[in-house]
């Protein structure tokens, strides 16, 4: 029926053509030629139109003076180690073979700075497993996953991670930072909307930037603020329902926030997810291997069904004490990254010995879930011990292994706050407790966190060491914050 209708239209067109007056045909002919000319002519330029003569251009080129490639850095920048004799600027660290003690600038210290929560950095079993892998595969992979850079160890680690987290699939990256930073732009594209917590870490910020999506920040852990944004979007959607049908929406949050030491209200987030049909991406670098009875992170902590979270990402550089990161979730979501995750496709794969070390770390975590209880006890112990230090307040939950010490009253200038905190860190470092200031790129952070000292809890710290460190910090605060 359709076809015969079209035939009629054709016949009518041919008839119309015959019946049309000559001037009409000529006019149309000219118009067609004009269109063809417009299509093929190259009279326009891709570059801006220029009325400059060649000579003027030469002069402009001659006159142009670029800025220097980089601005000069002041010599006393805290991260430059110009004169190690006078200042403990950038710490030179060396691991010691047996314990959580490290040598900083020649002094043996107890480590309260590395994210080695489970103490696996120095674990004999992990080292031996890495060594046997090294003896089989060598160090490097000499290729991305696609081109003979997939080792059987990688497949084993992905399988183990998926099983550990009780998800369908896991995918590993060779660099912790690149994990969430690649995962976000694999799904969220130009025109999509991402709702992000203001305290989100730098890797998330870079992932968002790479995605070129609309970014809407909500106040840190403020579900009312998030719901307000979601409602606004709902109103917006009703105005243009056709467009709304193709705009993907995501909420990106961290399990434990590295910048604030507190936890995201996951159950409420899941409610909002289904109410407003938004997907949740959860970054768990700090909570994986820490929260929950089996170390499965913030989903286990709250008893949230892990399938309700669309994507979980974490690095393997903290609790697992190896290198790299992973994403896990349902195959429908995760598998997409194998062709679209930039840091996965275009980068050399993780050295097999590092993957092997992560597998052994998972073994230890699975064999002995007790370790997570111990860690939690240590965390609350440190949290308690640091309360009530004059001039310093503890930022973070009692179960966070990475706390912040912040000045109770700022001097008003970030620089002088940083300097004060640095003096405290140096005071402790000289007395054999290794601490560090949290470092940020001041100009790059979307919402720059206040200056703080990081206090990292690990299962290896004994109660005496914790008390010693706490009283040392108190002593330093009393001496310096007067």
């Amino acid at each position: 029926k359709m076809a015969s209708g079209q035939q009629w239209v054709l016949v009518e067109m041919v008839q119309a053509f015959y019946e049309a007056p000559a001037y009409h045909l000529i006019l149309e002919g000219i118009l067609i030629l004009w269109i063809i000319r417009l299509l093929f002519s190259k009279t326009y330029k891709l570059q801006e139109r220029s009325d400059l003569t060649e000579k003027e251009k030469e002069e402009l080129i001659e006159e142009w003076q670029p800025e220097p490639l980089v601005p000069p850095v002041s010599k006393d920048h805290p991260s430059l180690n110009y004169d190690p004799n006078t200042k403990l600027n950038l710490s030179i660290v060396c691991g010691l073979p047996t314990s959580h003690k490290i040598v900083v600038n020649g002094k043996e210290c107890i480590n309260f700075a590395s994210f080695n929560f489970l103490g696996l950095l120095d674990n004999e079993r992990v080292k031996k497993r890495a060594l046997s892998s090294l003896k089989k595969y060598g160090v490097g992979t000499c290729g991305p996953r696609g081109f003979y850079g997939t080792f059987d160890v990688h497949l084993e680690l992905e399988d183990r991670l998926a099983k550990f987290m009780r998800t369908e699939e896991a995918i590993i990256y060779s660099y912790g930072f690149a994990t969430i930073a690649s995962a976000i732009p694999a799904y969220s594209k130009r025109g999509d909307i991402v709702f992000v917590d203001e305290a989100a870490c730098f890797a998330i910020q870079k992932g968002l930037q790479a995605s070129r999506s609309f970014i809407k920040y909500f106040k840190h852990n403020d579900m009312e603020d998030l719901e307000r944004l979601l409602k606004d979007q709902e109103v917006e959607d009703q105005k243009n329902p056709r467009k709304a049908r193709v705009i993907r929406r995501f909420i990106v949050v961290e399990g434990l926030y590295i910048n604030t030491g507190d936890i995201c209200p996951l159950p409420e987030l899941v409610k909002l997810k289904y109410r407003y049909k938004v997907r949740i991406f959860l970054e768990e670098s700090l909570s994986f291997g820490v929260l929950g009875d089996h170390g499965r992170g913030v989903t286990e902590h709250f008893g949230v069904n892990i399938d309700d979270i669309d994507l979980i990402s974490a690095n393997m550089e903290n609790a697992l004490a190896s290198i790299g990161g992973f994403c896990c979730g349902r195959s429908f979501v995760i598998d997409h990254q194998r062709l679209s995750g930039q840091g996965y496709c275009f980068s050399a794969s993780l050295p097999p010995m590092l993957a092997a070390a992560a597998i052994e770390a998972l073994n230890i975590m699975e064999e002995d879930p007790e370790i997570f209880t111990i860690l939690r006890e240590k965390c609350s112990c440190v949290h308690r011990a640091l309360q009530g230090i004059p001039g310093l307040k503890v930022v973070g939950e009692s179960f966070t292994p990475a706390l912040h010490l912040q000045l109770e009253t700022s001097t008003g200038s970030r620089d002088s706050d940083m300097k004060t905190l640095r003096t405290i860190v140096e005071y402790c470092m000289n007395r054999r407790v290794a601490l560090t200031q949290a470092r940020y790129l001041d100009k790059e952070e979307k919402f720059l966190p206040p200056p703080t000292i990081r206090v990292v809890v690990t299962v290896e710290q004994t109660d005496e060491e914790i008390n010693m460190a706490a009283s040392l910090i108190r002593e330093a605060a009393l001496a310096i914050l007067k």
């Binding site: 080292k127 595969y137 696609g146 004490a321 050295p351």
Partner: protein, 551 residues
């Protein structure tokens, strides 16, 4: 004297190769060279031979036809899947989330579903040995046309590895590098669990950086944990709003991402095409920033040493001349060329006999020639001081694993000769000899081989989509592991196989590989070359970016 030689260039159509074979003369010898139909002034100290034979017309037609048929069948099968006539293996959205906005648009995955899936067995082949000259591959089979794979439990042993970027053969599990790495593993463990700026700056890191600086011949250097991130996390520290980035069209994804994240204006020039680059530079400076017309704060040129898909080598002497003339800054990514080029293995700068101080930012990776992982940046002290304090990587990313650092230190010392042997130097020479041997034989067999004659990256053109899969499989049957690439890594009709020559390949291995390639080449009719080789300069250049100017 200007660089006008790039403009009044006689097209070298009747020449077999674009050859510049002159001693280092000054620019004024230009006229003399133009007479000889060569195009690059006297900037080159060695012959620069690069070829990109034109795609034969018939081959192009059949290639498009192939994609056409695949697309029609793709739609047909999608239709069958929709109507549940064909079994569908695609992972599905959860029932609870069916009414969410779809995570993927349908057309996004059309290519994956209907083209890639058919030949997916050629990628991600798992291996279970050192990625050295020979490699063991885990055997896998698919019972559902590549939707899922099953492992048979068997291993295909001793496959000749033409796929890994193991240029100098440092992917080893024995020998000094592995021993040194093993010792460090037992002493310090593998992880670091902190950033360079917090508690992850080890003395071995600093030692590595001093060695890298010495190796490159620059004042200072810095190492990072991932090659990809070295680009994407440091370019934003070097350029920002109001800056212009000029990027080669074939630059790696990491450079593109870094440029994007920097917030600079990005303009793309034709691959390795100096007229295109000069024109962009000239226009940019003359016109300033769009709309506001303010002068650019700075201009950064991004190029790679060896382009990993084309096998071409950057025209570095010309790029340096241009960057000096126009006061731009140069960022050179030596991911594939460091270790693999130059008489001392020190990359493309060494290859052309240039001064490393003429390159503002020397970037490279440790993944390939050093058999490790990570990347570096080297340059002047002011630059490196700035990066130490402002690199995203130094502030936010976990620092490098120490066994990996040890592998780099040991292998680099070996290349430099600081280990007291000539092993490193021998390997560099062996790689150059292997490259020449392998390339020459492939060319003589009548294949279309892209790229520079000295590049250990050797792309062999396959063109048609069906031949991608066939070539990869036939080669594996003959116990040779090769990399095949198609769209989107290459232009749609320029699918290719890529070989990476290694110093670890013996002549016997190369001969076996060449024999097999020739056999498969006959089987699949891949010997397309008509030996009418068009010089690279005339390729990929059109009127929109090139204008003759009156003088």
């Amino acid at each position: 004297m200007s660089l006008a030689f790039c403009k009044k260039r006689p097209h070298c159509k009747d020449q077999r190769w674009a050859v510049n074979h002159y001693s280092p003369l000054a620019l004024h010898s230009c006229a003399f060279q133009v007479q000889h139909g060569t195009c690059n002034g006297g900037l080159y100290s060695r012959p620069f031979k690069e070829s990109f034979e034109e795609t034969p017309m018939l081959v192009a037609v059949f290639t498009y036809l192939g994609y056409g048929i695949l697309t029609i069948f793709g739609y047909l099968r999608d239709f069958l899947r929709d109507w549940k006539i064909e079994k569908c293996h695609i992972a599905r959205e959860r029932e609870e989330q069916k009414d969410f906005v779809p995570l993927y648009q349908d057309f996004e995955n059309f290519y994956t579903r209907n083209l890639y899936m058919r030949i997916r067995d050629n990628w991600n082949r798992p291996i279970c040995s050192v990625p050295g000259a020979k490699v063991d591959i885990v055997e896998r089979v698919s019972h559902n046309y590549n939707w899922t794979f099953d492992y048979t439990g068997k291993v295909v042993k001793e496959v000749i590895n033409m796929g890994s970027y193991n240029y100098l053969g440092f992917a080893e599990n024995t020998g000094p590098c592995a021993e040194a790495a093993a010792e460090v593993t037992m002493k310090y463990g593998v992880g670091v669990s902190s950033t360079r700026q917090e508690m992850g700056n080890c003395s071995r890191h600093e030692e590595l950086e001093k060695l890298v600086a010495r190796f490159l011949g620059v004042e200072s250097a810095m190492a990072f944990g991932m090659g990809f991130a070295t680009n994407s996390m440091n370019i934003p520290a070097l350029a920002g709003k109001g800056c212009l980035i000029l990027s080669d069209e074939l630059n790696h994804a990491s450079l593109v991402l870094g440029a994007r994240l920097s917030g600079s204006t990005i303009r793309v020039f034709k691959h390795n095409n100096m007229q295109s680059l000069e024109k962009l530079l000239k226009e940019a400076i003359a016109h300033g920033q769009p709309r506001s017309r303010r002068p650019w704060k700075k201009i950064l040129i991004l190029v790679e040493g060896i382009y990993s898909m084309e096998g071409s080598i950057v025209r570095l002497p010309e790029v340096i001349a241009l960057k000096k003339k126009y006061k731009a800054y140069l960022y050179l990514d030596e991911a594939h060329s460091i270790g693999a080029l130059g008489p001392r293995g020190r990359g493309v700068v060494d290859y052309f006999g240039l001064d490393p101080n003429d390159v503002d930012v020397m970037m490279g990776t440790f993944t390939k020639s050093f058999g490790a992982a990570g990347g570096y940046i080297g340059g002047r002290k002011e630059l490196m001081d700035y990066l130490r304090t402002h690199s995203h990587s130094a502030v936010y990313a976990t620092s490098m694993s120490l066994p990996v650092v040890e592998q780099i230190i040991t292998s680099m010392k070996c290349i430099v000769g600081e280990d007291g042997t000539t092993v490193g130097r021998d390997r560099v020479q062996q790689l150059a000899a292997n490259t020449t041997y392998f390339r020459k034989h492939l060319q003589d067999m009548g294949f279309i081989i892209y790229g520079n004659h000295d590049s250990p990256v050797v792309p062999l053109m396959l063109y048609m989509p069906a031949k991608i899969g066939a070539f990869g499989r036939e080669m594996l049957q003959r116990n040779i592991a090769v990399v095949v690439v198609g769209f989107p890594a290459t232009p749609i009709i320029e699918s290719r196989a890529r070989f990476c020559v290694s110093a670890a390949h013996t002549k016997a291995m190369l001969d076996t590989a060449l024999g097999a390639i020739s056999e498969v080449g006959d089987l699949l009719q891949l010997k397309y070359s008509r030996h009418r080789i068009v010089p690279s300069l005339d390729r990929a250049f059109d009127e929109t970016t090139y204008e003759e100017t009156e003088e």
